[in-house]
Symmetry: C2
Subunit: 581 residues, 2 copies
C-alpha cells in the first residue's frame, strides 16, 4: 500500500472525553472516529487491525473444528421470550419495534438464535459434537459507555456455541476451545493470562477468562509466579491459614474508641496492626411464600479480618446464603445488635444471628471487634473463651498479594487485566428453556449440553494498546499491526535515488508477502516519523540520500530508542529475519 | 474441507412461503435459514458464497483506489435529521430509541455518516478525490419482505461514496467505479448488463444499474442486440418515428362504441389494429402559495398510442410537469371534458387543457380517440385538419420490442433482470444538506460533489441462482461457488483403494489452491449426488472401485448431462484446465 492511496489522519490532541491511553491514541492515530456515545466508525487504519484479528480468530476456530455461519443482527423477540432474557435483561438489551409493532432486539449475543438452529438442524446424537460460530456486530445499550471501543455500545464479537450429547462430551469441546484460545492469543503477540473464572451453577473448572495484562485493566487477576495457577479475583481461593489457632494471650477488654468507626481508625488509635482487627458485615436472607411475600428473615454476621475485602461471589456460595442475600437494613441491625454500624461485633447481641467467620478470622487470637455499643470496641477477643465457635467458617474474602497459592506451589501475586475472551460451559440452561433436544443413543430425546466462547474483536485493539504504548504512541505486535513495515524515504522529490531505492524495496517486500506501506505523501521527516510512531507500525526503514551514498539505510523497531544503519543490500534479509519469514 | 467437518443440511421440500426458485433452492440447499419475516441466518454453506463475493468486491474496489472503512449499523438520528431523511423516509427506515429515549436508526445506507466523516476529515481540495466504502449489515423495514434474501429486511451491502472537488472530477470517479463494477461482475461469472438509469436532477449519463439477467427478474431491461446500448425501462428513450406524418386519408367520423371504454375494445369492435387508437391520460399540476395551499391547478391531457404504456419518469421531465404532477380528479375531468373516463379525447373540450402528444402520436394520421361523449369515439382524426397541433410533443412511453435503438444501430429488445448494483453521481445534495465543504483551490469553501456506488452482497447469490439453476438444483459459476470441486468416493468404507485415491486427489487439489470438498460422510451414492447437485458445486469427481480397476475416475460438470471417464493420472491436470489454473 502506498500512503498516498490510503487514508491517514492523525491528530495532535486527543478528544476531551478520552480518559484512557487507548482511547486517546486510537483517536489520535485515526483508527476510530466517534459517531455518538459508544458508537464508533472504524477508519481504514483501524479496520486493518480488526481484519487481522478476525483472520487469526477465524483460522484457529476453523482449525479447532468450529464452523462459521452468520446470524442476524436484528432478532425477533419471541426467541428472547422463550429464555425470558427479554424480561431478565434490563435496558442494556436494545429493543426495537418494526412497522407492524412487532418486537425485536439488536443482538448482544446469539444463544437463542443458535439454539433455535440446533433444535431444527441437530436431530441425532450422530450429528454431535457441533461448534458453530459467527463474527458479527452486536449492541449493548451500556448505561455509561466509555473508554472508546473498550466499553462501546456497538461492537464486534466472535461468539461460538458448542452442542454436545452429555457433560463429558461438552468438557471435551470446552477443552478444544481452551486450546484454540491459547493459540489465538499466542498469535496476537500480547501478554495475556487465561484465568479460572467462576462457573456458577455448573461447577468445576469450566470457565476461563482471557485477560490481556495491562496496568490500567479493570479486572484484578490473581496468579502464582512460581506455577501456572491463575484465576480472576472472584474465583481465586484464599486457603485456610497453615498453622493452628494461637493460644489466647490477652484478657478481653472493653476499650473506648470514640468516633473511631473503621478498623483502620481503631488500629491507629490503639497502635496495633490492622491485621489484629475484625470487621463485622451484616447480611440478611429472606424466606418468601408462593405469592413472593417475605414471611421470615434471617440476619447473618460475617467476620473478616480488618485488612480484607469481602468477595460477594464467595459469600454467595455459603450454605444458607447461596439462594440470594442482601445487606441488612438499619432497623434489622439495631434490632439484633442494639447498636449502629461502626461498633458492631459478635458479642452481646440483642437477638441471635448466624455468625460466619472467614477462614482467616477463624484462626485468629486476641482480636479486636466492635462492642455493640457506640464508641467502644473490645480487644483481646478469643474464640471458645469469650464467645462460642462460629456457626460456619468459609472463604469469604478477596485474595491479597502474598497469600498462599491454592496449588501449594508458592505465594500469589495480583495484576490488572482487560478481559477480551471468555469461554465457559453453559450446561442445559438454554436447551431446556427452548426445549432443544436431540435423539440420544438410547432413542430418547435429550437436552443439548452447551458451551459458549466469546472474543471481543473490537475490544482487543484497545487492550493491545493499553498494554503496548509509550509517550509517542502505539506499539503494535507484528501480527495485528495495521501495517508491519513502513518505508520512509526522506525528501524523495529531491533525490531520485532515494525514491528509486524506496520503490524497489517496497516491491521486494510486497513480493515477499510483507504488509508494507510506503510513505509517499511528501511529508517532512519530523511529521512523517511522528505519524508512524503514533500509529505504531512496528518496523520502520528510513531511506535518505546521505546514507545511500554509503549504501546504507536505517532500521528502527518501534521499541528501539535509536536507528541502526544497515546496508541497503542487507535490509530485505534483515526484515525477513525480524519478521520470521 | 472434509464434509464430515463441515455443516451440510439439505431438504427434500422447499418451505411453503418460498415463491421463487432461488428462495426454494437456497433453503433446500441449506444456504440460508429463516429467523423471521425478511430475516435470515447465513448457514455455513451460504456464508462461503458471501465471503467469495465480498472478496471479489473488496479486491476490485481496492484496485480502483477506494479505501475500506466500517461505519456503524446503529446511527444517531441527528445525522438523518440534517438531511431530513428522518422525515422523508417512511416506515422503511427502522427507528430505535436507546435507554435515554434518544433516537437512532438501523442504517439502510450511510450517506449521512460518510458525509459527516468527509466534512471533518477532508479539509482541502488536495485531499480529493476520495472514495470510501464499507461492507456492512443494513436494514430496511420492507412492507412485504419476500423472495428470501432477494427482498429481505436485513441484508449486507457494499456501499461506496466518492468525494470530488467539482462535477468533472466526480465524473472521473464515477467512470472509475463503472470500470470496477464491470470487473467485479465479470469476475462473478454471471450474465449481466450495465444499463443506463435515470440520473434525476444531475442529468447526463451518470447512473447505471448492474442487472443480472434472469427470466424471473423484477426489472425490464432494454438493450440493442447489435450494439452495446442498454438502459432500464425508465431511462430507455423512444425515438421519434423516422418518417414524416402520413397525409390524412379518412374523414373524421363520430362512431358509436357502446360500452367500449378501452382502446383494445374499440379496436376489436371496429376491426382495426390497436396501433390506430390513441389513449387519453388526464393529469394535473398544482400551484401553491407560501402556506402550501393550492391556489391554481392546471389540467393536462397526455396522448399515447393505444398499445403503449406511460412512463412516469419521462412524463416527469416534460416542462410544466417536471415540478410534480398527479392524476386528475373525476371532478376535474368532468369539468374539462364533460365526460367520464373511457371516452375522453382532445376535441370538443368544455374548458381548455394542455395537450402533450407522445412522439409516436404526433406523427399518426387517421387515428381514433374518445369523443368526450359516453359510448362514442371519433375515427379518422388528423392533426392540423381536425384539431390544432399539440401544445407539446415528448417521449412519454415505455419502449417495446422492435423500437429503434437510440444509438441508431438496430432495434431494441427487452429482457428481465435483477438489480444487484447501482452507481450514480449524487451531486451536492448531501454535502449541501450537511454543510460539508472543503477549501477549494481558490481558498473558498465548496461543497463536495459526491457519488454513490452500491452492490447488494446478500442479494447476489439469489440473482445468481435465478439465472443458473435447473430441476436438480443450483449451478454456481466457479468464482462464487461454496466449493469449486467436490470429490465423491463411492462406498470408500468397503474399498480402501477408493478411499486412498480420494484422499490423495483431495491433498493434491488443496496443494494446488483449489477450494475442494471431499464427501466423507458415508452417504449412499444417490443421496450424495442429489445433495451436490442441489448445492450446485460446479465440478464433481466420482471415484469408484470399478473405474479404479481400469485407472479411471469420472468427471462431471454440473451442467453436463453425463459423466466423462478420465484417467486418475490425468484428473488433476483436467481439473486445472477446467479451472484455468
Amino acid at each position: 500500500m502506498k500512503a498516498s492511496q490510503f487514508f491517514i489522519s492523525t491528530l495532535k490532541e486527543a478528544p476531551a472525553d478520552a480518559e484512557v491511553a487507548s482511547h486517546q491514541l486510537m483517536t489520535r492515530a485515526g483508527l476510530i472516529k466517534k459517531l455518538g456515545a459508544g458508537i464508533y466508525s472504524w477508519m481504514p487504519m483501524g479496520l486493518r487491525v480488526i481484519r487481522k484479528i478476525e483472520t487469526i480468530v477465524r483460522e484457529e476456530m476453523n482449525h479447532a473444528g468450529a464452523v462459521e455461519l452468520l446470524m442476524p443482527v436484528v432478532q425477533p423477540a419471541e426467541f428472547w421470550q422463550e429464555t425470558d432474557r427479554w424480561n431478565k435483561m434490563g435496558p442494556e438489551l436494545m429493543r426495537v419495534k418494526d412497522r407492524h409493532g412487532r418486537d425485536f432486539v439488536i443482538q448482544p449475543t446469539s444463544e437463542e438464535v443458535v439454539t433455535d438452529i440446533a433444535r431444527q438442524e441437530l436431530r441425532s446424537y450422530k450429528q454431535l459434537p457441533r461448534n458453530l460460530y459467527h463474527i458479527q456486530t452486536k449492541f449493548r445499550d451500556e448505561r455509561r459507555p466509555r473508554f472508546g471501543v473498550m466499553r462501546s455500545r456497538e461492537f464486534i464479537m466472535k461468539d461460538a456455541y458448542s452442542f454436545d450429547r452429555d457433560l463429558d462430551a461438552a468438557k471435551i469441546s470446552y477443552q478444544a476451545m481452551a486450546k484454540a484460545y491459547r493459540a489465538i492469543f499466542d498469535r496476537f503477540g500480547l501478554r495475556y493470562r487465561a484465568v479460572a473464572a467462576d462457573s456458577g451453577a455448573i461447577g468445576g473448572d469450566l470457565s476461563e477468562e482471557f485477560q490481556v495484562i495491562a496496568a490500567t485493566g479493570e479486572d484484578a487477576i490473581v496468579y502464582c509466579p512460581s506455577s501456572d495457577y491463575a484465576a480472576n479475583m472472584e474465583k481465586a481461593e484464599a486457603l485456610a491459614p497453615a498453622g493452628p489457632r494461637p493460644a489466647a494471650a490477652q484478657p478481653m477488654t472493653k476499650t473506648p474508641t470514640p468516633g473511631k468507626a473503621t478498623c483502620a481508625d481503631v488500629a491507629a488509635l490503639l497502635g496495633v496492626p490492622l491485621q489484629n482487627t475484625v470487621k463485622s458485615l451484616v447480611l440478611a436472607t429472606d424466606e418468601t411464600n408462593e405469592a413472593g411475600e417475605i414471611i421470615r428473615s434471617q440476619v447473618w454476621l460475617l467476620l473478616l479480618r480488618g485488612d480484607h475485602d469481602m468477595n460477594e461471589i464467595k459469600v454467595g456460595k455459603v450454605p444458607g446464603l447461596d439462594a440470594g442475600f442482601r445487606f441488612a437494613t438499619l432497623g434489622e441491625i439495631e434490632e439484633h445488635f442494639g447498636c449502629k454500624p461502626g461498633y458492631l461485633g459478635p458479642m452481646g447481641l440483642k437477638k441471635p444471628v448466624k455468625i460466619v467467620a472467614d477462614r482467616e478470622v477463624a484462626v485468629m487470637a486476641d482480636w479486636i471487634c466492635g462492642a455493640n455499643e457506640p464508641d467502644f470496641h473490645i480487644t483481646g477477643v478469643n474464640w471458645g473463651r469469650d464467645l462460642p465457635e462460629p456457626d460456619a467458617v468459609a472463604d469469604l474474602r478477596n485474595i491479597v498479594e502474598g497469600d498462599r497459592s491454592p496449588d501449594g506451589k508458592g505465594v500469589l501475586a495480583v495484576e490488572r487485566g482487560i478481559e477480551v475472551g471468555h469461554i465457559f460451559v453453559l450446561g442445559t440452561k438454554y436447551s431446556e428453556d427452548m426445549n432443544a433436544t436431540f435423539l440420544a443413543e438410547d432413542g430418547k430425546p435429550a437436552f443439548f449440553e452447551m458451551g459458549c466462547y466469546g472474543i471481543g474483536i473490537t475490544r482487543l485493539p484497545a487492550a493491545a494498546i493499553e498494554q503496548n504504548h509509550d509517550e509517542r504512541g502505539i506499539i503494535w505486535p507484528d501480527a495485528i499491526a495495521p501495517f508491519t513495515v513502513v518505508l520512509c524515504p526522506i525528501t524523495p522529490e529531491r533525490f531520485p535515488e532515494v525514491k528509486a531505492a524506496a520503490e524497489q524495496l517496497y516491491a521486494q517486500l510486497l513480493a515477499a508477502g510483507v504488509d508494507v506501506i510506503l510513505d509517499d505523501r511528501g511529508e517532512r521527516p519530523g511529521a512523517m516519523f511522528a505519524d508512524w510512531e503514533l500509529i505504531g507500525v512496528p518496523h520502520r526503514v528510513t531511506i535518505g540520500d546521505r546514507g545511500l551514498k554509503d549504501g546504507l539505510v536505517e532500521y528502527q523497531h518501534r521499541r528501539d530508542t535509536g536507528a541502526t544503519k544497515i546496508a541497503l543490500t542487507d535490509i530485505l534479509a534483515h526484515l525477513k529475519g525480524r519478521l520470521s519469514l
